[in-house]
């Protein structure tokens, strides 16, 4: 019996060993590519390149179909390069697949991942430095607010792709019914509270049939809180991923406001509000206003059977919203010709017309200034002015929370915010605790 086990063990080890040596091959390839660029150009023309392109789906709409079409169009322009889109699930699932692939020595070529995963990818040593691959002017074409999460210091690691901010959606029909001006959304916190209480409707038994506002509190509550902190005058993390400012008084003011809406003012449902059901609640008329990503704009536009408006998030001391969404990353452990093909693909995806079409199809913000100069987007905005709101709000926007050990820091912050929203802790306690826990995690990176 012992013998059998030994043979088995050695057999399995052999198997894993084979797997490793095989997957290590692509890593060795870049060494060959020291030839001058010109010969490479010609070589590329004859030699077909295949790119693996991992992408997630995080908002409603036929994203998979759109991506397939982008890959096809690119192939028509560049017959030598085939892009194979691989649907990865949610952002987190896609990141899991990418990380597993990278650790297995079989890294993808290009991927759309959260812009906030930057520091995880850097610690993994997985991604290619893109600073030398594009011109300065190219990067200057993007809105400054989107560059925050793509850089660490002066090194650019990724290219903005499906980027978003938080905006406020409101139901104009319900505004009219409540005697509010449907063309004027609340622009400050106090106006918001006032409007929300007018929009909260109860039936005879005292049960609420329509809520004034819903701000989701699962998955991305840190993002919502960050918006309110920015509006109160501070961001919650430093730009190098090494420090957080969770216990600042401005953040406290923000969390107090957030939890008061449900627990004190009673204009928002109490308890955790599911990220994915808040848009359904808005579309079905259960809530008159919602905070959500602009990435859902096209879905709301298609599904809502009422007239709706999109507005800046109401200001406290000023306007503000964090950016969000995903960037394009190129991976390190792939042959040089594929890196070049990947750069070409990225240039293709960020052409003004492409960006404009992508923004129209999905609702994500156009990432470049040039995209808003295209007739495509100009005409679209003329018919549908709501689409310009997120872009206009960008001048008040700032980078999203992104640190080393981002998953852990975000999770502990999320948990504590939820505890405060549920009344299990005071906002001050929740934030002090978050700061301590995050400091402990980030200590080794400072």
């Amino acid at each position: 019996m012992k013998k059998v086990m030994m043979t088995l063990l050695s057999a399995s080890m052999l198997l894993t060993a084979c797997g490793q040596s095989q997957s290590a091959k692509p890593a060795a390839a870049p060494a060959q590519s020291t030839a001058p660029a010109a010969t490479q150009e010609t070589a590329k023309a004859d030699k077909p390149v295949e790119l693996q392109f991992y992408f997630p789906v995080a908002v409603g709409g036929p994203i998979t179909k759109l991506i397939d079409k982008l890959a096809d169009d690119f192939h028509k322009d560049n017959p030598a390069i085939t892009v194979k889109p691989v649907y990865g699930g949610s952002y987190q699932d896609t990141m899991t697949k990418v990380a597993t692939a990278v650790q297995g020595g079989n890294s993808p070529d290009v991927a759309v991942l959260l812009s906030t995963d930057l520091y995880s990818l850097i610690s993994m040593n997985a991604i290619e430095d893109l600073t030398p691959r594009f011109s300065k002017e190219y990067f200057n074409g993007f809105y400054e607010a989107f560059m925050g999460n793509t850089k660490s210091g002066d090194t650019v690691w990724s290219v903005p792709f499906q980027r978003s901010t938080i905006v406020m959606y409101y139901n104009k029909d319900l505004f009219k019914k409540a005697g509010l001006d449907p063309e004027k959304a609340p622009s400050s916190w106090s106006e918001l509270k006032e409007a929300a209480s007018k929009l909260t409707v109860k039936d005879g038994s005292g049960k609420v049939t329509q809520w004034g506002i819903e701000i989701p509190s699962t998955g991305y509550q840190y993002w919502m809180l960050q918006a309110m902190s920015l509006e109160s005058g501070t961001n919650i993390a430093s730009g190098d991923g090494k420090q957080v400012f969770f216990n600042k008084p401005e953040v406290q003011e923000a969390l107090q406001f957030y939890s008061d809406l449900g627990r004190k003012d009673r204009v928002m449902p109490e308890g955790a509000l599911e990220w994915a059901t808040v848009p359904s609640d808005f579309i079905s008329g259960k809530t008159a206003m919602m905070y959500h990503t602009t990435g859902n704009l096209t879905k709301v536009k298609t599904d809502a059977k009422f007239d709706f408006g999109v507005a800046f998030l109401p200001a406290n001391k000023k306007y503000g919203s964090p950016t969000g969404g995903g960037n394009l990353y190129v991976f390190k452990n792939i042959p040089e010709e594929r890196k070049q093909a990947a750069v070409k693909f990225i240039e293709f995806l960020t052409k003004p017309e492409r960006v404009a079409q992508w923004s129209i199809d999905t609702g994500y913000v156009g990432t470049t200034k040039a995209s808003y100069e295209t007739d495509l987007l100009k005409n679209y905005i003329k018919d549908f002015p709501q689409a310009a709101v997120a872009r206009d709000q960008l001048q008040y926007a700032d980078s999203e929370l992104s640190t080393f050990q981002n998953g852990q820091v975000t999770k502990l912050f999320n948990d504590n915010i939820q505890a405060a929203l549920l009344g299990k802790m005071s906002p001050q306690e929740a934030l002090e605790k978050s700061q301590q826990q995050a400091d402990a995690i980030l200590k080794s990176f400072q």
């Binding site: 088995l8 990380a99 995880s120 993994m124 049939t209 449902p269 509000l273 504590n416 549920l422």
Partner: protein, 285 residues
Amino acid sequence: MRENGFAYALLFPSLVFLALFTFYPTIKSGYLSFFSSNLAGKHFVGAQQYVQVFQDEVFIQALVNNVWLAVGTVPISILIALYLAVWVNSKFVGTGLLRAAFFYPTFIPMIAIANIWLFIYTQDYGLLDKCLSVFGVHSPNWLGDPHWVMFSMIVMVIWKEAGFFMIFYLAGLQNLPKEVYEAADIEGARPLQTFKAITFPLLMPTTLFVMIIAITNSFKLVDHLYIMTKGGPDNASNVLLYHIYETAFSFWDMGKASVLTVILLVILLAISVFNYACLDKRIHY
């Protein structure tokens, strides 16, 4: 010897798979649990991570939640399964349909189940709230309120498991000898007496089997949580396996995830050993 060799040859493919997908990962997890590892690399830290895990309040909460999940689901789903099995074992019009109806939660995909129940539990316009509002009941935010979320999960798990266990009981019932029932009938035993004196004791082997599956299942719940609550609000529905998943694939802390895996393994092993070593002796086959 030749006979033995032939037997080994037949068993060999299964052994290969067991070794590759069970023994090797188990040993590797045990080994990795002594290393602190993240995406950048790993280094030896000994038992330090075990100490950290037992001081981690999220872990403690997940463990407590898991125990409540087991306590809440196992006995009730077994009782319901037994009741359903006895019911659909008797012959009347439509038994086939009933059996299928009770069993169907078992063969729809977990993710689909989670989505259906997500709709049922949705506040205000979800199925449950709509039904309750007919009776004028104000229902809580089932999945968003930390006091109710575990209860909601338990109800869903019972719904899913009872039909599955019913099939085992049904098979058990149909294998019971007819003679004893005829004898009981002649003696004039009432149905409840028959059940207590004959059916239940004779079904004990099935009960043991079902119980082990039920308890281990309650420690293996993860798919529903991923769709429905992500362990929230504030970890109120976090359980061990989900905690492992998060630690490994959101925090990329493979060392701590290995520690948690070892703990889960020990728990599951302990349950099986207890069942087979202690309960097995009291059961009449």
